[in-house]
Symmetry: C2
Subunit: 444 residues, 2 copies
């Protein structure tokens, strides 16, 4: 499959009339947009399709021209030659960010040794690319963290949460918590939740006594805290957008699955804080800011985080709402890629999750929690969660996740691939990492 064929397929697959060719300057830019659906397995995607469009409907995600399947396994901390068949988000994000497998709970560090693993964002930045991270979760949550921090334990978000990673604390001469490291790496765009962590004081080092937010301002970041501010912020210096104290409020809500099940339900739009932008406005702002200046291009990771968090809570409506948000973001990213043909767009889940679409005739005997949704086509869809007896503690599962892509090098993500291949394809596109060390490489 040639690049041209993929592109022709993209146009043929319904992205509207042929756009005028990009200018030479634009075409020369190399961009990577990685959209991660946290917990976006085939079932999560099918739940959204069935509920919102019907079983025969097609999401924007479904229409991307190159489709593959991606293995997600982690490795054991004590013996990294052995697999852990079910990954968490920090291990799988590490695989995508660094091309290396690690053990669960680790953030871009090596099992056993704590050695940092160079990330695509760090490598891209050193090679002159602009970089950005966007999430609907806390910015220190596993997926964004793995692109701009290195720590042995994923919950070491901020200076007050360092008990499980003492050697990384600034007090021990370490690089600090995830939010401290993230500011030091200094991506051009950081948009998400986690304001409470950025308000923590740094206990030692250059910024001792200052908050992480102070340190960000000293590093040149302009801080925005509302959707309205985000919409008008201009390019120039780095932008830190903090729109929630912790994670975002999911767009949709409903009754959690239960045993015995509740009545069949339709999902409701949630009450969203006015300051909180959706994933789409965040993505649009990030693309605008990253593309505004001359240079070789950009690397952007944007995450729909609440698919996973609402799956943990057995909340089918929350999952579906966030999947639809991701789908709208895919449409935005695709339009950008069509106007900027040097752009590689990848959409992928980081792991499969608990929900199973079960047979309504047998749902009464399902031993886990279930909920039945009335879909757009007037049919009943029953979702079971049975990886835990506790409704609010459902767990990941070990099936591969779908991967969708468009643009130059996308064909390398056809068929069965692994999260580490996603790193390799992105690194090749940007000419960084092992395949392009001359352009700059991170630690170690």
């Amino acid at each position: 499959v040639t690049v041209l064929a993929v592109w022709a397929l993209a146009v043929a697959a319904g992205c509207g009339p042929l756009r005028p060719p990009a200018t030479d300057a634009t075409a020369a830019k190399r961009n990577v947009i990685l959209l991660v659906g946290d917990g976006l397995g085939a079932t999560a995607l099918t739940m959204a399709r069935n509920y919102h469009l019907g079983a025969a409907g097609r999401l924007e995600i479904d229409r991307l021209p190159v489709t593959g399947s991606c293995t997600t396994w982690a490795v054991e901390e004590d013996d990294p030659t052995r697999p852990d068949y079910v990954t968490d988000s920090s291990s799988s994000a590490t695989a995508m960010a660094t091309g290396r497998k690690t053990s669960n709970r680790r953030v871009s560090t090596e099992p056993g040794t704590d050695a940092p693993l160079a990330t695509i964002l760090e490598q891209a930045r050193r090679a002159g690319y602009r970089t950005g991270l966007v999430s609907t979760a806390h910015l220190a949550d596993a997926t964004p963290a793995a692109f701009a921090a290195h720590v042995n334990y994923r919950w070491c978000f901020d200076p007050a949460m360092m008990a499980a990673c003492p050697t990384f604390a600034k007090m021990s001469g370490g690089p600090g918590s995830i939010v401290e490291q993230m500011i030091d790496v200094r991506p051009d765009v950081l948009l998400g939740g986690g304001a409470a962590s950025f308000a923590q004081r740094i206990p030692a080092g250059t910024h001792a006594g200052h908050t992480v937010l102070d340190a960000a301002a000293e590093a040149g970041y302009r801080v925005v805290t509302t959707a309205a501010e985000l919409a008008v912020v201009e390019a120039g210096s780095p932008v830190l957008g903090l729109f929630a104290a912790d994670n975002f409020t999911p767009a949709w809500e409903g009754e959690a699955a239960s045993f015995p099940p509740g009545r069949p339900q339709r999902c409701r739009a949630a009450q969203i804080p006015e300051a909180q932008p959706g994933l789409v406005p965040m993505l649009e702002a990030a693309l605008r800011l990253l593309d505004a200046e001359a240079g070789p291009g950009f690397f952007l990771m944007a995450e729909a985080a609440m698919i996973d968090k609402q799956a943990h809570a057995a909340d089918a409506c929350g999952q579906i709402g966030e999947t639809i948000e991701l789908d709208r973001a895919v449409a935005v990213a695709r339009r950008f890629a069509e106007l900027h043909p040097g752009t590689l767009l990848i959409v992928v889940g980081d792991h499969d999750h608990a929900p199973v679409i079960v047979d309504t005739r047998y749902a009464v005997v399902a031993p886990g929690v279930t909920t039945t949704l009335e879909t757009v086509e007037g049919a009943s869809m029953t979702i079971g969660y049975a990886t835990s007896t506790f409704t609010y503690k459902q767990q990941h599962s070990g099936a591969p996740v779908p991967v969708f892509s468009l643009g130059p090098d996308a064909e390398a993500l056809d068929g069965l691939v692994d999260h580490t291949d996603i790193y390799r394809v992105m690194a090749r596109r940007l000419g960084v990492g092992p395949a392009g060390r001359a352009a700059g490489d991170g630690p170690p």
Copy 2:
């Protein structure tokens, strides 16, 4: 993606040294090999990969050049405009065999009306193609049945089982049970289980008082009942191979999943009756018999049926053993396709199923039944089944299934497709059905 590109990819992907080009006569033949893994979802495939090859291993199935994802939904009997999000094997086999959605339990008949739906096997046969059905289940089981019978209820296997489909019985002037109809359709090759049904007496019509086996002999079938006979049977007249009274004995066995779980286990080879051939010898015999004579080519459906049946029984080892059998059959089919470039090979599941690869750290709180397997790489893989509280009644699920293909027209099965698309691609390849009516079409 051109046919040539797919072919080049097939060669590049590791099918050994380039074979000499086929003769013109062979190249002119159009063959379709449809390999169905009953219940072969992404999890079933991953269980087999992890257990047998390791997480980073690649099955023969994984190496097929064109990969897609296939939706599997059925429709409601009372309102066929409404979906049933979880299909059974008869509805999904009907979709593949006829290109039409039907309700669960139906075999190639229309919801509401009982009208027969023309099948690809019937259409191919009328157009002069040779045809065959192979299964490791009873030959009247849903998947083979949907290609060569039309009935309102899938369990109407034989003359003694017609209570739920009285209008179809020969006594009512109907076409008879599934095995009676199958002999009347007269595929060139029928290999599988179900000898007990073929021993039933036909109560009315031309063959009144004779057994179904008698009727088969009168229709010209040679009957073989052992693997040894199958290995030497020669082409000429149709072959009916009956190697088990009902379903085959699965190749592997182990302890069923349970609550509380048993000890971690390795799977064992089962005691297989000497007369029972594996899926591979059946496929090899079918390809030999179907390809032996001049003509436009053949249509062959071969099913690894026990992936589903052992999933219903929460038997992970049984599932994995049958998946490995299917994988070996894929290697055989692929080699055939490489030597006969007019061959379209499709490998697909008919529906997803209950098993979930769960996190071993949390397996103790999984509310369903679980089992832990010690895999080839010395790691533990825990499988949970939680679509029913009863171990032996696990149910299907509604995720799409993977679809893999190779050969001319395979590229049409890239991306997200539906089981009805598989019919359309096969029909196009053979030039039959709505796209090629001149070549002959079945009822109605």
